[in-house]
C-alpha cells in the first residue's frame, strides 16, 4: 500500500489532559510509523481533537510526552510544531476569511521564506525571486487539489467542501512531514468523500507525508488507513490494523453498546 518504513515518526507516551478538572484524555499512548496513514476514531467527545491539539502544541498536556522525529518534548508551542514539519487542518475550518485562496495557500509557505520584510518592502534582493518561487510551489499544490479556478476568490465566499480543500492546500504548502487532519470529510457527500480520500492517498504516496486523521466514516477508514486507534471517553480502547480493530469487542461495545444496554434500549 503505502511506503511505511519501520521507523516511528510520532510516539505519544501516557498523555493526560484535563480542562478545569474535566479529564479529556487519560493516559493515552500509541505510535505512528513514518509514511503510514493512521486514523483516530471514536464516538463524539472521545478526545480525538484534543489529542491532535496536544500533538501540535495547541494544548499542553498535564502529563506524558510527545516524541516526534526522535525528539521528545513535553511542552511545545504551535509554531515550534510547524517549524518541525507538522501541519494540520481543523474541524471548524480555520482559514483566513479575509484573504483569497492563493493568499491563504501562500501563508502556508511562510516558514520557507528567507528574505526579510525590509527586502520585501523595497522589492530588493531575494524578495522578487522568492515571490516567484513561492508562487510556483503554491500553484503546484493548488492544481494538485484542483482549486485553481478559485485562486483569487475570497475564501469566505467558497462552499464548505472547497474551503476544506483550501485548508488542506494550506497545510500541504508547508511541505510537512506529518499531516494532522481533523475530520477532513465532515459534511461531504459520497462523491466528495471519494475525491478527498483519493487526495489523501495521493498526498501520502507522492509526497511521502505521514498522515493522522480523525474520521467518522468507518468505510473510509477501512479503505484508506494502515493503522487505526480507537478512543472512547478519553481512553484508548483499540490500536492496530483496521481488521484487528474491527474485531475488537471493546470497540464494538463502544460503538454499538453492549448486549445489555441494547436490550434496555428496546
Amino acid at each position: 500500500m503505502s511506503a511505511i518504513t519501520e521507523s516511528v515518526l510520532l510516539r505519544l507516551d501516557d498523555i493526560s489532559l484535563s480542562f478545569k478538572g474535566v479529564k479529556a484524555i487519560t493516559s493515552i499512548s500509541f505510535a505512528v510509523k513514518t509514511g503510514e496513514i493512521c486514523a483516530l476514531i471514536g464516538p463524539n467527545g472521545a478526545g480525538k481533537s484534543s489529542l491532535l491539539n496536544v500533538i501540535n502544541g495547541v494544548y499542553q498536556a498535564q502529563s506524558g510526552s510527545v516524541s516526534y522525529a526522535g525528539q521528545t518534548r513535553r511542552r511545545m508551542r504551535p509554531h515550534q510544531a510547524a517549524e518541525r514539519g507538522i501541519a494540520r487542518t481543523f474541524q471548524n475550518i480555520a482559514l483566513f476569511k479575509g484573504m483569497s485562496v492563493l493568499d491563504n495557500v501562500l501563508t502556508g509557505r511562510n516558514l520557507k521564506r528567507r528574505s526579510s520584510w525590509v527586502e520585501q518592502m523595497l522589492r530588493l534582493g531575494r524578495a522578487p525571486r522568492e515571490d516567484d518561487e513561492q508562487r510556483r510551489y503554491a500553484e503546484t499544490i493548488i492544481e494538485f487539489l484542483r482549486i485553481h479556478p478559485w485562486r483569487h476568490v475570497l475564501v469566505g465566499k467558497l462552499s464548505y467542501g472547497l474551503q476544506k480543500r483550501v485548508e488542506l492546500a494550506r497545510a500541504l504548502a508547508a511541505e510537512p512531514t506529518l499531516l494532522l487532519l481533523d475530520e477532513p470529510m465532515a459534511g461531504m457527500n459520497a462523491e466528495e468523500k471519494t475525491e478527498m480520500t483519493q487526495f489523501i492517498r495521493d498526498i501520502n504516496r507522492e509526497f511521502g507525508t505521514t498522515v493522522v486523521l480523525i474520521e467518522h466514516d468507518i468505510g473510509v477508514v477501512m479503505g484508506l488507513c494502515d493503522h487505526v486507534v480507537v478512543l472512547d471517553y478519553g481512553r484508548k480502547i483499540g490500536d492496530g490494523t483496521p481488521e484487528q480493530v474491527r474485531a475488537n469487542p471493546e470497540v464494538i461495545a463502544a460503538y454499538l453498546g453492549t448486549r445489555r444496554s441494547r436490550a434496555e434500549a428496546r
Binding site: F19, S49, N53, V58, F90, Q91, N92, A94
Partner: protein, 293 residues
C-alpha cells in the same frame, strides 16, 4: 493616618460614581454583547435634557419623567436603526457603530440644548460631614447611597422577575432565546432603556458634581479601566472595579502627584488597568474564554 483614610474614602466614593457609569455598560454588554461607547453620550444627553427642562421651569419630578421618556425613545430608535441592521456583524463593527452613535448623540444634545455649562442643584448641600475625625463629603455619601439602592434594585430585577429571566437568557444566548419565544427586539429596547435610566442617574450625580457640560461624555473613557478590572459582564465586578479605580486615582493624585507631577489621574486608571490585564487577561470577574479549535 486619618488623612489617608479620608483620601481613601473620598476615592472610594468617587469610585462609586464610576461604577454607576460602568453598570450601564455592563447591562448593554450582557444583553447585546455590544460595548456601548455611546453610553457617555447618553449620560450627557440625559443630564443636559434634565437640566434644560429644569431651567425652563419644569418641576423636578416631571423633568425626570420627560427625560426618562426621551431616553426610552432614544433607546428604541437605536435598537431599530443601528442594532438590528448590524445584528450579525463582528463585535468591532458594532463597537465602531456605537462610536458613531456617540458622536450623533453628543451633537444632538448640544444642538438641542446648547453647549454652555449648566449647574445642577440636586438639593444636597455639599458640606462636609465629620465622622470619626474625617471629613467626608455629604454629596459623595448621597451618591454612594443612591448607587447602592440602584444596584439592589437591578439585582432584584435580574434575579427575581420574569423580565429579568428573559434578560439573562438573551445575554446568554440570543438565538436560543428566540427559539423559546422571547421577543428579542423588546428585550434589547428594555435593556437599553434600563441602561439609559442608569445613565440618567449617573448623569445627574456627575452633573451635580462637575457641572453639566461636554466633558461628561469623557467619563465613559474612565469606565473602560473599571470594566477591565471588573470584567465586562458582571455588575458586581463593575462595582469593585469602580471602587478600585476611584481609590487608586485619588490616592495617586494626592500622594504621587506632588512627586511626579500634577494631572497623573488622567492616565493612572489606564496604566493600572493595563498592568492588571497583564496578570489577569480576563478581568477579576470576567469569564476566561476557552478557545475551541
Amino acid at each position: 493616618m486619618e488623612f489617608f483614610f479620608e483620601v481613601l474614602i473620598g476615592g472610594l466614593l468617587a469610585g462609586v460614581m464610576y461604577s454607576l457609569v460602568a453598570i450601564g455598560f455592563v447591562l448593554i454588554y450582557k444583553a447585546s454583547g455590544v460595548f456601548n461607547f455611546a453610553q457617555g453620550a447618553m449620560v450627557l444627553f440625559a443630564a443636559l435634557t434634565f437640566v434644560s427642562l429644569l431651567e425652563r421651569g419644569f418641576p423636578f419630578f416631571w423633568a425626570f419623567v420627560v427625560t426618562l421618556a426621551s431616553l426610552v425613545v432614544l433607546a428604541l430608535l437605536i435598537e431599530k436603526a443601528v442594532l438590528r441592521p448590524l445584528v450579525n456583524r463582528p463585535p468591532i463593527i458594532l463597537f465602531m457603530a456605537t462610536l458613531g452613535l456617540s458622536y450623533m448623540i453628543e451633537g444632538l444634545a448640544q444642538f438641542l440644548w446648547g453647549a454652555q455649562v449648566h449647574g445642577l442643584e440636586l438639593g444636597i448641600a455639599d458640606e462636609p460631614l465629620e465622622i470619626r475625625g474625617m471629613l467626608l463629603s455629604q454629596f459623595d455619601l448621597f451618591a454612594a447611597g443612591t448607587a447602592a439602592t440602584l444596584v439592589i434594585a437591578l439585582s432584584l430585577l435580574f434575579n427575581k422577575t420574569r423580565v429579568g429571566l428573559s434578560l439573562r437568557a438573551v445575554a446568554d444566548d440570543p438565538l436560543a432565546s428566540l427559539a423559546v419565544g422571547i421577543r428579542l427586539p423588546r428585550i434589547w429596547a428594555l435593556v437599553w432603556a434600563v441602561a439609559g435610566f442608569v445613565g440618567l442617574v449617573a448623569g445627574l450625580l456627575w452633573g451635580a458634581r462637575l457641572g453639566v457640560q461636554f466633558s461628561l461624555s469623557l467619563v465613559v473613557l474612565k469606565a473602560l479601566p473599571v470594566l477591565i478590572i471588573g470584567g465586562f459582564s458582571s455588575i458586581g465586578g463593575a462595582i469593585v472595579g469602580g471602587l478600585i479605580i476611584g481609590a487608586a486615582e485619588k490616592v495617586a493624585e494626592i500622594y504621587l502627584g506632588p512627586v511626579i507631577g500634577s494631572g497623573i489621574e488622567n492616565w493612572v486608571p489606564y496604566v493600572l488597568a493595563l498592568l492588571f490585564l497583564l496578570v489577569r487577561p480576563a478581568g477579576l470577574f470576567g469569564e476566561r474564554a476557552i478557545e475551541r479549535v
